[in-house]
């Protein structure tokens, strides 16, 4: 089948061509850049070619022929899984690959080590598409790890800056916690079904061959994997640190790859378990509410932190944390509204795409601003409205979309999320809806704040000192395309629903006439006004409160103490290991170099004498210990072999 070929090629081509990037880069740098753009365009084209077959299908996965991967073990194969969910992600990633490849030509101009950069970008894109198209858990896990590796390498791209190395390592370690959980889930699934392919697992579930306790454990472990990868509470702090990355990487990471992997995993998992109503019923009382609560609380925490950070990329990072919280809360409501997978599931994926458009747009524009004035601190910006008019207009569209004002994309997607959470109809569900409304209001406030500080406020000395110029065309055109999509995407809702084969309760007009729309818009007024007067008109009220020492501002300035908590844990671990070392030193005091001098120190010419004189005794001891150990092993062998 032709779709199967394109589904293979769409991730194999970026992965293979990434190998050629350094070779071409050696020959000619310009050709290398165009090569990357061409590969990205090809990827996007191949991704789009998957759409018709899926659209005309019945919403199930197309039949494909997995290749036996490890001959001899049944249940482990390699293949592609083509269904609306995976194709939606593939198209989004392919499109963003093209956008970022073009944008990078302008943004990364004149940087060192660009061959490495482009190599990693292509590898990143290839592995993310491989992740969403994989037809079994093992293949997905391999790409899951590759995505983590690429994001680590790209975040610490400027490896000479200590902060970016630190950020890269932090990302790697924190996401690793989720990887372990996912690996455990995969192990449990293999134990139950003797296969790792999605089809096999679905067939196994339908046949009833599962253990409910195991299934619950799998659900929570999968959730753990998604939490770490998608930067949800309590593992969200890595996303803010990841802002040390080049802005083009941040845009890719937030819009299409990495953080969206967690959303994909949960959406896929819910789709798989939805074939057995028994599992859904068993998970209803605690798993789904936990997902919603994590999403709702993350949305609130992210939005309130975005309100306080002074880093323009930090605002966007926390905004992503908050928006993915929205998606998670809708996923938690997926089973409660109507049928098995209902509007909540669709709302989350629909919002995933609109978030990709407005967040990607925000990052591309922030990149242009950082490029022009050389700082990420919003307090040093101001007056950019006159200096960067095109960026100003595009950022205006981004602000309107992010805050969910009609008729742009997020109005429909966010509205759908809130509607689906409203459908939970329990007391907890009511609290969740109220928090979500509050978060939406906060979203508007941080958007207005960022906009005022960067564009409306009077020019600062920092701006006056330098000649600020508008971003080059090669950076503005991708941004303009994204802005266009921000406007159009909301109106495409019925099309997307028919592509995903989901029946929506209300159409586009219904979303406008909904009772929730006026409530939502009314809620935006007070927060918007406060932000407007504080940051645009320069009223001191809120700033004075924020400046004083009160519990709320302390909490916000410390990002709710999550990093401090992790710092305490690692410090405790360090103390523990130091204590162990001390105990060891006392116990093995006979060997003076047991934990003392390092090998390279001992090998330095000046210290060679100490090596000769001091530890010669210990050297003799080592030899003696080795001989004794050898004799003991021989004795043990003799005893156990029964000679």
């Amino acid at each position: 089948m032709i779709e199967e070929f394109s589904a293979w090629l769409v991730w194999v081509i970026p992965l293979l061509s990434s190998l050629f990037v350094p070779l071409i880069g050696k020959y000619n740098e310009k050709i290398r850049n165009y090569f990357v753009v061409a590969v990205a365009a090809l990827t996007a084209g191949l991704a789009l070619s998957l759409v018709p077959a899926v659209w005309s299908g019945n919403g199930e996965a197309l039949t494909t022929n997995p290749i036996s991967w490890i001959p001899g073990i049944t249940g482990i194969s390699a293949g592609v899984y083509i269904d609306p969910l995976s194709v939606l992600f593939t198209c989004l990633i392919g499109f963003f690959a093209l956008v970022i490849a073009v944008y990078s030509i302008g943004y990364m101009k004149g940087e060192e080590g660009l061959s490495r950069y482009y190599y990693l970008i292509l590898l990143f894109i290839g592995s993310m598409i491989g992740l969403v198209l994989a037809d079994n858990m093992l293949q997905m896990f391999i790409f899951w790890e590759m995505v983590g590796l690429c994001s680590y390498a790209l975040i610490s791209f400027w490896y000479k800056k200590p902060e970016s190395i630190h950020a890269g390592v932090k990302v790697f370690i924190m996401t690793r916690i989720g990887d372990i959980a996912l690996l455990a889930a995969i192990g449990l699934l293999f134990l139950m079904f003797n296969t790792l392919s999605f089809r096999g697992i679905i067939a196994g579930i339908q046949a009833g061959g599962f253990n409910m306790d195991y299934m619950v454990a799998v659900a929570f472990l999968v959730l753990g994997g998604a939490i770490a990868k998608s930067a949800q509470l309590p593992l969200f702090t890595w996303l803010y640190s990841a802002m040390e990355a080049p802005t083009s990487v941040s845009a890719l990471l937030h819009a299409a790859t990495m953080v969206k992997a967690g959303v994909y995993l949960l959406a896929r998992f819910i789709l798989i378990i939805s074939v057995a109503p028994a599992i859904i019923t068993a998970l209803m009382p605690y798993w789904f509410p936990v997902v919603t609560w994590i999403g709702v609380l993350t949305a609130l925490v992210g939005a309130s932190l975005a309100l306080t950070t002074t880093d323009i990329k930090g605002v966007l990072a926390y905004s992503t944390v908050s928006q993915i919280g929205f998606m998670m809360s809708a996923l938690g409501a997926a089973a409660t509204t109507g049928g098995l997978i209902g509007e909540g599931w669709f709302a989350s994926l629909y919002h995933m795409v609109s978030h990709a458009f407005f967040e990607g747009l925000g990052f591309l524009l922030a990149g242009g601003i950082i490029h022009a004035i050389g700082t990420r601190d919003m307090r040093l910006m101001g007056g950019l409205r006159k200096l960067m008019p095109t960026t100003f207009i595009l950022m205006g569209i981004m602000i309107i979309t992010t805050s969910g004002l009609p008729p742009f994309a997020a109005f429909f997607s966010k509205g759908l999320i809130i509607t689906s959470v409203t459908g939970i109809e329990t007391l907890a569900g009511l609290a969740q809806v109220i928090i979500l409304y509050g978060t939406a209001a906060l979203t508007f406030a941080y958007c207005v704040r960022m906009f005022s500080l960067a564009f409306m406020a009077p020019k600062t000395e920092h701006i006056e000192k330098q000649h600020v110029h508008e971003a080059p065309k090669v950076m503005l055109i991708p941004a303009a395309i994204l802005a266009g999509l921000c406007i159009v995407w909301g109106l495409a809702e019925p099309l997307v629903a028919s592509f995903m084969h989901i029946e929506l309760a209300e159409g586009l007009v219904g979303a406008f006439l909904n009772i929730e729309t006026p409530i939502f818009l009314l809620l935006l007024v007070p927060t918007g006004l406060i932000a407007y007067y504080t940051y645009y008109k320069g009223f001191k009220g809120v700033r004075n409160v924020a400046g004083t020492k009160n519990p709320l501002s302390t909490m916000l300035n410390h990002a709710f103490f999550f990093d401090d908590l992790y710092g305490t844990v690692t410090k405790g671990l360090t103390r523990f290991s130091e204590g162990l070392t001390r105990v060891e030193n006392v116990l093995f005091a006979r060997y003076p170099d047991a934990a003392g001098t390092s090998i390279s120190e001992a090998a330095e010419p000046g210290k060679a004498t100490t090596l000769k004189r001091g530890p010669s005794d210990s050297f003799r001891n080592y030899v003696a210990a080795a001989v004794v150990g050898f004799i003991l092993i021989i004795v043990l062998i003799i005893i156990t072999s029964g000679v």
Binding site: I70, P162, I165, F576, T581
Partner: protein, 104 residues
């Protein structure tokens, strides 16, 4: 079962080594201990499968390649900072007065 206990003991020793040592080479040896413990478990659990034994060769060769890369990195790091003590290296990194990489 004995081998599982052996693997667990090796794992524990490896973790102990990671906790108490700050020399890069000793840390590396501890890591290798942990990896070997895992491999040992694979051997044991796949002992009734010829395929498991065959895949083990793959695991061993990957492990060897990894060790080569790690050792090369260790040599570069200890040359660059003049010490192989992790604590001292981290301190030197934080002071930001890093010497340029020796590209020999």
């Amino acid at each position: 079962m004995d081998f599982v206990i052996l693997a667990i003991v090796m794992l524990a020793l490896g973790i102990y080594g990671l906790l108490t040592n700050r020399q890069l080479l000793k840390v590396f040896i501890s890591l290798e201990l942990i990896a070997t413990a895992a491999t040992l478990n694979f051997v044991l659990l796949a002992s009734n499968l010829n395929l498991g034994q065959a895949l083990l060769i793959l695991a061993f060769s990957t492990d060897t390649v990894l060790s080569g890369v790690i050792l090369a990195v260790l040599v570069i790091v200890s040359k660059r900072y003049g010490t192989s003590d992790m604590g001292k290296i981290i301190k030197l990194m934080q002071e930001k007065n890093e010497p340029e990489v020796d590209t020999q």
